[in-house]
């Protein structure tokens, strides 16, 4: 990492960090890093703070209530595009697949088990529930439907509370919806729904789906801390990626999931190294294509270590 001009001495930098993270499986990376002691071995004292969305995290980053927060990449880009002074300091989750048919991932589009919908193109003209419109999930669905030759603009998207996604499909209120893990796998196992397609964008495997961000001010004042933080989460990711047992253990103890829920769960992969401007561009291209962003941001402006 390149040091900012006149970087403060390491001793003056923040060591006690409050880090906002989602209370879902995508927030597992941070919990693993804590429980595996990666932070403490780097001299950091990290307290996880539950943040349900980036909307709650950003004001707290600005006010100094939080030092670092985890959020999905698209939301981060939206914040950035509105001029908020935040940057990516590390990758959290990565997209686990290239959107191959039938592959499980962190979330997926499901329909009722006996539904006529069986492929992405069948979604055209149907009512699909997403957590929110113009977000990453929504964008990815459109991307793979278009890639499969469908016209994604003809899908009727509705917003549904994440806890209700399965109910609404079973109920028939929506034709398909997008549960996240572990709800998706347990519902499929229960025979209620079937997987149509995961919510990964085609060809974007390894692209960061969620990132850790901090304010520019914090990054400038605490360059070493930021580096240490990134190193710690990458170290933890290396351990937990592919280690179902560890992942399940931390998910049970820190995120209150039950063993039954996690039985078939898919654990997403966490980033083990800093992202590249090329990967960032892959996402921002899609975001611009689907109108989430009006202008394509310069990847360098988004990353802390390119400053």
């Amino acid at each position: 990492a390149s040091a900012a001009p006149a970087a403060p001495a390491a001793a003056d930098q923040a060591k006690d960090l409050k880090v906002g993270a989602t209370p879902t499986l995508s927030g597992l990376g941070l919990r693993v890093a804590i429980s595996e002691g990666n932070f403490s071995s780097d001299g950091l004292n990290v307290t996880p703070v539950v943040n349900k969305s980036a909307n709650d995290a950003v004001p707290q980053l600005l006010s100094g209530e939080l030092q670092i927060a985890q959020m999905d990449t698209i939301t981060f880009m939206q914040a950035r595009s509105q001029g908020l002074p935040v940057r990516i300091i590390a990758v959290n989750g990565e997209q686990s697949t290239n959107g191959e048919d039938g592959a499980m991932s962190a979330a997926g589009v499901v329909a009722k088990a006996d539904s006529a919908i069986s492929s992405p193109t069948d979604l055209v003209g149907k009512k699909v529930g997403v957590p929110a419109i113009k977000t990453q999930t929504w964008m990815n669905i459109r991307a793979f439907v278009d890639a499969a030759g469908g016209d994604s603009s003809k899908i009727e998207f509705v917003e549904v509370p994440s806890a209700q996604t399965i109910d609404l499909v079973v109920q028939g209120t929506v034709d398909a919806s997008t549960p996240a893990e572990p709800l998706m796998s347990s519902s499929i196992a229960a025979g209620k729904v079937k997987l149509i397609h995961n919510t990964d964008a085609p060809g974007n495997k390894g692209v960061p789906s969620s990132v850790y961000v901090a304010t520019e001010e914090f990054i400038a004042k605490n360059p070493d801390t930021v580096t240490n933080f990134a190193d710690s989460v990458y170290a933890a990711a290396k351990v937990v990626n592919g280690n179902r047992e560890l992942a399940a253990k931390v998910a049970q103890s820190e995120l209150k999931y039950t063993p039954e829920q996690l039985k078939n769960a898919f654990f997403q992969t966490f980033g083990v190294a800093a992202t590249t401007p090329a990967q960032i561009d892959q996402i921002s291209n899609l975001a611009v294509k689907y109108g989430i962003l009006t202008d394509k941001p310069k990847a360098e402006d988004l990353l802390a270590d390119s400053k």
Binding site: P23, V50, D56, Q60, L66, I166, V170, Q171, L255, K256
Partner: protein, 286 residues
Amino acid sequence: MSEMTPKSNTAVLAGARTKARKGGSAVAGRRRVGIGPKLIAIAGVLLLWQLLSVSPLVDSDSLPAPVTVFAALLGLWGTGAYWAALGTTLQVWAIGLALCAVIGVPAGLLIGVSMRATQSTRWVIDFFRTIPTIALLPLVLLLFGATSRMEITMIVLAAIWPLLIQSMYAAKQVEPLLKWVFRVFRISTMDRLRFLWAPSVTLLVSTGMRLAATMALLMTIAAEYIGGAPGLGLELSHMEQAFKRPEVFAYAITAGMIGLLINAALVLFQRRVLWWHPIIRGERSE
């Protein structure tokens, strides 16, 4: 003066008690409902719920059966997290509500008394009270973070309106002739507050208090739920994230029961204080 304040207060309350008992056809005449009908009503609803949850109308995972929910509740009662969350929520709720009362009631009465004040504040009140507190959450988070101060701010922003508005209307309901009596006998401002205003506005204000208490509770939980401050709402949110529907319902039922208890206490208070009011005297109406 100070010597008599508590005394005549007790006198009033003592009067309340004796009257409530020996008040002849007046108070005693109003037959109160025992616990029986209440239990029957509750049992009826539980039965309906149970039937609904096992019926093919709804998926049993969507609407867990009451037995499942109560089993979950019993399970939660065994955890320290439940009680800690309950304690935190109640504490924040109490502070928030107290603030609402301290600001809302006097302000509402003052605005209600004066025509000019009513006119002056009309636009402002109408404007601000339609702005949903939820929309202000990021701003409040920016100012206070996910702390109890954030919660209290949210509570006050949401729950002050019932008290303010009910107090405004209460102030306009004071019997004009009694106001004259107090003017004629040049009764001091303190006494005027105690012996004219307090009894006259109690009904409307205490109903405002019941509304505000519930809104404050809901707001506390909502703030914890969305904003991530510790308490019942956060626990509920955890359970929801973990897709533990019975526990979610168990927490919701906890909130419902708190509301029930708070309101029962407030109704009891109302009955105690308003024993003289036709509403409680309940003279034969039919």
